[in-house]
Subunit: 420 residues, 2 copies
């Protein structure tokens, strides 16, 4: 057994007879438990006794021969160095005994991550990103970075954040959509993990104004099916990676993450409308599904054991200009990927024919001049392509059964929150 | 030899007697070379003959038994499928025979990446990010995401981009500085690879208004030396990773990347001032080094075989409020890491004592109330910590001997460029 040096913060201090127990949260998701006896470790005991909850320390120790503690990993300690003491009592309970309201959790996230439950969540979040990169790189996607300050929106004007860019007006990127398509001029497959900025005014449990996406685009596709397979394989890989590498964290969160299998069910938009109407939900044939409809559909699909499913063939009237339309002109090759009633990804096959694309921009009431830089890419041999953007927080929310998307991000930006 | 299916774009077509040569750029950095004989592969020959430069195709082929071509990897072809033809001649030469001006390169980057030289550059860029993540994760740093829309700037007001956040004013994040420090409340070590937004008005070869950084922060440090070691080990790891995994790309770029060794030279700011003055460069003792001074220092250091070196102990009058000051109050624990005359990273040990920090904010003429959310983190046991931000484009610029930082990024945002 070699001596280790470990660091962290005191989250619990308790005296049991002549033994003092210190729980320290650090790199481990579960706390380090230090048990000190007054008669044997007199000096250490006195250092530990004087520490407030919240103190930052490093200690040297060995794994204890008997792992008796259920609360964490027990160490025999030979040295304690105190690095910082709190100057005020902590405003939230870090031990996890007193549950905090969501508002408090959001305000004090940076502090609450000392709690094993919150730490588990953000360790898994990092794991999701790591898994996504691994899957995409192993499958020939190259990482790119596209600009976040842009001259035109990809998703329409209503949800754009406007900013002053020197003498001009500019916007924050709603998604790398247009840029990643342009890059299919030269790369077969690209991906980017990126912030999305959307000035959506509503305040729901499933929306953030600054969120993160896994953005993917692939060229030389034969049909939409190629893109659907990338999306489903990516999700299966991520879920499996978390299931296998974050067992302790899933246990702390009380989450049983089942192994997924492909193919996910492909449901046509028109079929979804039929199902929803037969359930008494009012649905338009020309608009995107509402949150309520999405949720209801999730319930119906769950009864059939479909927890993840594609909705394909959205009506042209409900989509962005860049989706390829079917011959009829009514439906498109846009899809959503839903996870138990929540859209976690949206994508499709794109229109790669220059003339058709210009026509589509006009038909959506937009001015092709504003998209000149983008349109040019379609003149020089842009192959058939498609892709999607997958919401990181939405995926995590569903994987971990979180009630509110705000639980899945360290610092929340929503209608009312600009700090911390 | 198994049949492969490969895709790409025609970048060169040449006829040599009865043989037609097609060079196709695809996932490989070097082109695929297809040699077709009119008498033997009549059908393929005719397909190939009809293709314009820029056409997108997939082909099935085997590696040719004799790899005669110096220009790329030669294949024997058994099938060609054409996916898209250009509707106009390409506006730039992709074969690399006609060098393009920087302005043109920036405008058509998405198209020029078909060129092996540009492709090599952006493959290496992706490799730099991959190497950085690998080093940091192997060394206990956890990936975090911090907000890009913020209520207060970390670097002072002059270079903030302002935006309208619903009813309030907000700014784009200049760096994750304040947020990553707050997270040292709960994580020992964090990192983020992130866009930086800085409204710097000057137009130089070393500045971008939207750039990317590798941001690192570590807690429980004993001294600044811990941070310097993380920074130098990270750079050495990245350079070594590129040197070993991107040999073909470095060869295409004509770059000989030497193996680096640690420790990098540590030069005190006061020593740097002395050196520069002895070289006849005017330098202030209280301000940051100018670009001109940085460059001159790079030359002097290069003569001593120091290509990468730290400048430590910047004067308090020249730094952000968050750096720890030495006892005297004149100098701080801020450092720059310079690579042949260019600052590629900046960081230091932070002030972690609440009272000292409030004092420092006031002394810089700022209002502590605007930093309340940040200051609060210092009340609850924030250990000694430090970190740095490393400019991705600046590092790549120096590694690959680029003349202008704009060469290191796919889409440029500078004083005059908002598109593409």
């Amino acid at each position: 057994m070699t001596l280790q040096r470990l660091c962290g913060w005191v989250i619990r201090k308790a005296r049991v007879g002549r033994v003092l127990i210190l729980e320290v949260c650090g790199n481990n998701t579960k706390p380090y438990v230090l048990a000190l006896r007054e008669d044997r470790d007199r000096d250490l005991f006195h250092i530990a006794e004087g520490l407030d909850i919240g103190s930052a320390l490093c200690f040297e120790g060995d794994l204890a021969p008997l792992q008796r503690s259920k609360r964490g990993v027990e160490y025999s300690v030979s040295k304690i160095e105190v690095y910082a003491k709190p100057i005020e009592p902590l405003p939230v309970d870090i031990s996890g005994k007193v549950p905090a309201l969501l508002d408090t959790r959001i305000k004090y996230r940076w502090l609450l991550v000392r709690n094993p439950v919150e730490k588990a969540l953000f360790k898994i979040r990092a794991g999701v990103l790591k898994a996504a990169r691994k899957y995409l790189e192993d499958n020939g996607f190259i990482e790119v970075n596209t600009p976040k300050i842009v001259a035109a929106g990809a998703e329409g004007g209503a949800t754009l954040f406007k900013l002053q860019y020197f003498e001009r007006e500019a916007y924050l990127s709603q998604s790398p959509q247009l840029y990643k398509q342009m890059l299919i001029s030269s790369f077969e497959r690209v991906y980017e993990i990126t912030p999305y900025f959307r000035a959506e005014k509503y305040n729901t449990t499933r929306h953030l104004n600054e969120s993160w996406g896994i953005d993917v685009e692939q060229g030389f596709i034969n049909s939409l099916e190629d893109v659907l397979q990338t999306a489903e394989n990516l999700v299966v890989y991520i879920v499996d990676y978390v299931r296998l590498n974050y067992k302790e964290e899933l246990e702390i969160l009380g989450v049983d993450l089942p192994k997924l299998s492909t193919p996910f069910k492909r449901l046509k938009f028109t079929e979804a409308v039929e199902i929803l109407r037969s359930e008494g939900v009012e649905v338009s044939e020309t608009e995107d599904l509402s949150d309520v409809a999405e949720r209801k559909l999730g319930e119906v699909m769950a009864e059939k054991k479909h927890y993840l499913y594609f909705i394909t063939g959205f009506p042209w009237s409900s989509t962005g200009f860049y989706y390829m339309r079917e011959e009829s002109g009514v439906y498109t090759r846009k899809f959503d990927l839903d996870y138990r009633g929540l859209e976690i990804a949206s994508g499709g096959q794109r229109e790669h024919r220059y003339e058709k694309l210009v026509e589509a921009i006009r038909e959506k009431g937009l001015n092709p001049e504003n998209f000149e830089f983008y349109l040019e890419a379609f003149k020089y041999g842009l192959p058939p392509h498609g892709g999607f953007g997958m919401g990181v927080e939405r995926l995590i929310m569903k994987m971990l059964n979180l009630e509110n998307i705000r639980e899945a991000i360290l610092f929340v930006r929503d209608r009312t929150r600009l700090i911390p």
